[in-house]
Amino acid sequence: MQFEYKIKGGDFSEAGTISSKLKKILKQLNIDNKIIKKVVIALYEAEVNVIAHAYNGKVNIDIDTEKIEINIKDKGPGIENIAKAMEKGFSTATSKVREMGFGAGMGLPNIKKNSDKLDIKSKVSEGTNLKIITFLNK
């Protein structure tokens, strides 16, 4: 089963809208609460990343009986050094973004922590693709 959503860069007021929709779907599918929590946190962080750094993005969610696969593609500056971006506390967010309570450098580490498989592909000044996989039967 597939779902597709769009994200607009810079629109912080909308952060969490898609993860909230996904939460509703997963509740209806009777997915374990702990898994729901993980998936929702991971997607929320990914949403914030697109909003904070990119121009726009697209979220594709694919759910089957084995796993939840979330693909987030954005058009934006891309990540120069993925290994560095994965470090806790590392952030390229502007001070203004930080003042708003975002950009603490926990985004990608948090996504990794709350997913079973994380795949990042990025091209500088083009954009970033994130693939987050959560397995349902562990």
Partner: protein, 441 residues
């Protein structure tokens, strides 16, 4: 099976119901459908909040009540009253007159529920400080909220504080206290005068307990009438020796911010079930963090807004606040403190079980199938949420269809030729029903 049985105090009087759909659209858990021209409550979805009762234009929704005579089964007949009861009467009727009237209509003892509030706030403070505390800690005070979390927010069940609400703790105290004074516990009947339907359900079908200590309930509006009649009859008598003055904390406990204000950590008080739902949706998606304590109440203005109250809720709050300001009794010591150790041992409730109404199927494969079916059906439905099909929204109808509990032919907008009707087109626009041909084919 216990999980399949929920006592509900809200009942629909089929003779009075005109099948108007007001109730189905206000129900926060979408627990009502119109069937054969009458509203019907889906029992395992209902949380007894009373929104339908308020919305019904013909008073067809009733709150079950007991005959006052049931107190006569007991030798000692205890009236357990909410503090809010005093705010229902005019200013010249003070609490001792109310207490006296209760005795005159047949009770032998009168106690106020909120006596145990301080005990609870002490326990909550301890819990907030403990390392294993799941935050935000959610108050267990409002039974409609506890039920709402069970059916709609099962992932937040662990956030509900596992402490009994004041009714149960005060009732335990009364039983212990009277039995220590030579009364056989079997002879004690404790009856709660309730301002809402949820508290009735909480007593007859408690959550996290096997059986409530309270023996029964009476609806506040009916007791109000009894007291009033009695006051008119003998307004000069004033002989109550049992009068108890509540402290400021106890007096305002059932009002909005009555609990939250006692805690120095970041605490919020939210009243009105729709406001509560909006907030819980947000904490479920982790959008709000760093809040320690949540006082959540289903009724607007908390218990002052209970559906069985007589007085206007705003006037009621004003009176309670005034009484609390005038109250100099800041460290009132009730006998309840003598039973602190006994009550603290019994203060906890067992695990609260989810009763999720949201899941489409236990089996994931089936659930996915059903969800895909819902998506398909939603392409045809007009998304007007008119309620004419008997379900509160188009989505609710689609879900019912996927669960084989309804049929797509219930949608009146999918009737033949509706897309060629000019009047319909004028209201709903040209393209609204363009899918109807696909549906027909």
């Amino acid at each position: 099976m216990q999980e399949n049985y929920f006592y509900h105090a809200l009942k629909i009087d089929k003779k009075q119901c005109i099948g108007c759909t007001h109730c189905i659209s206000v129900c926060p858990t979408q627990a009502i459908r119109i069937i054969n021209g009458k509203a019907e409550i889906i029992q395992n979805r209902c949380v007894d909040c009373g929104e339908c009762y308020k919305a019904c234009p013909v008073s067809a929704i009733k709150v079950e009540d007991n005959d006052l005579n049931i107190i006569n089964k007991f030798k000692y007949k205890v009236a357990l009253i909410p503090a809010i009861l005093r705010s229902q009467f005019p200013d010249n009727i003070n609490e001792s007159k109310i207490f006296d009237s209760l005795i005159q209509i047949g009770f032998t003892h009168v106690y106020e529920v909120e006596l145990s509030a301080d005990l609870i706030s002490k326990k909550v403070k301890e819990e907030l400080k403990s390392k294993n505390c799941v935050k935000p800690l959610i108050s267990s005070f409002c039974p409609a909220i506890v039920r709402l979390i069970q059916v709609k927010f099962p992932s937040l069940i662990d956030n509900i504080i596992k402490i009994k609400p004041p009714i149960d703790i005060t009732a335990l105290y009364i039983k212990k206290h009277l039995s220590e004074n030579g009364v056989d516990p079997k002879d004690i009947g404790i009856f709660y005068i309730t301002p809402c339907a949820a508290k009735i359900a909480a007593i007859y079908s408690p959550v996290g307990e096997i059986k409530s200590v309270v023996n029964g309930t009476f609806n506040l509006n009916n007791i109000y009438n009894r007291i009033f009649k009695n006051l008119i009859k003998n307004n000069e008598k004033d002989n109550n020796s049992q009068k108890i003055n509540l402290t400021k904390t106890q007096l305002t406990w059932c009002l909005t911010n009555g609990e939250a204000k006692n805690y120095s950590c970041k605490s919020l008080s939210i009243d009105g079930i729709q406001n509560v739902i909006e907030y819980l949706e947000k904490i479920e998606t982790q959008k709000i963090k760093d809040v320690d304590f949540l006082e959540l109440r289903a009724c607007d203005e908390s218990c002052a807004g209970g559906i069985l109250n007589v007085q206007n809720r705003f006037l009621s709050v004003e009176k309670m606040m005034k009484l609390s300001k005038e109250n100099t009794n800041t460290n009132f010591v009730s006998k309840i403190t003598d039973y602190k150790e006994f009550l603290e041992k019994k203060i906890l409730i067992e695990d609260i079980k989810p009763r999720s109404m949201i899941k489409l199927d236990e089996n994931l494969d089936q659930a996915i199938n059903k969800m895909e079916k819902i998506q398909k059906i939603m392409n045809f439905l007009p998304k007007i949420d008119c309620g004419a099909c008997g379900a509160p929204t188009c989505l609710a109808l689609a879900e019912d269809i996927a669960q084989n509990k309804a049929d797509i032919s219930q949608c009146i907008f999918l009737k033949k030729n509706i897309n060629t009707d000019k009047t319909v087109e004028k209201i709903w626009g040209k393209n609204r029903f363009k899918n109807i041909e696909d549906y027909e084919s």
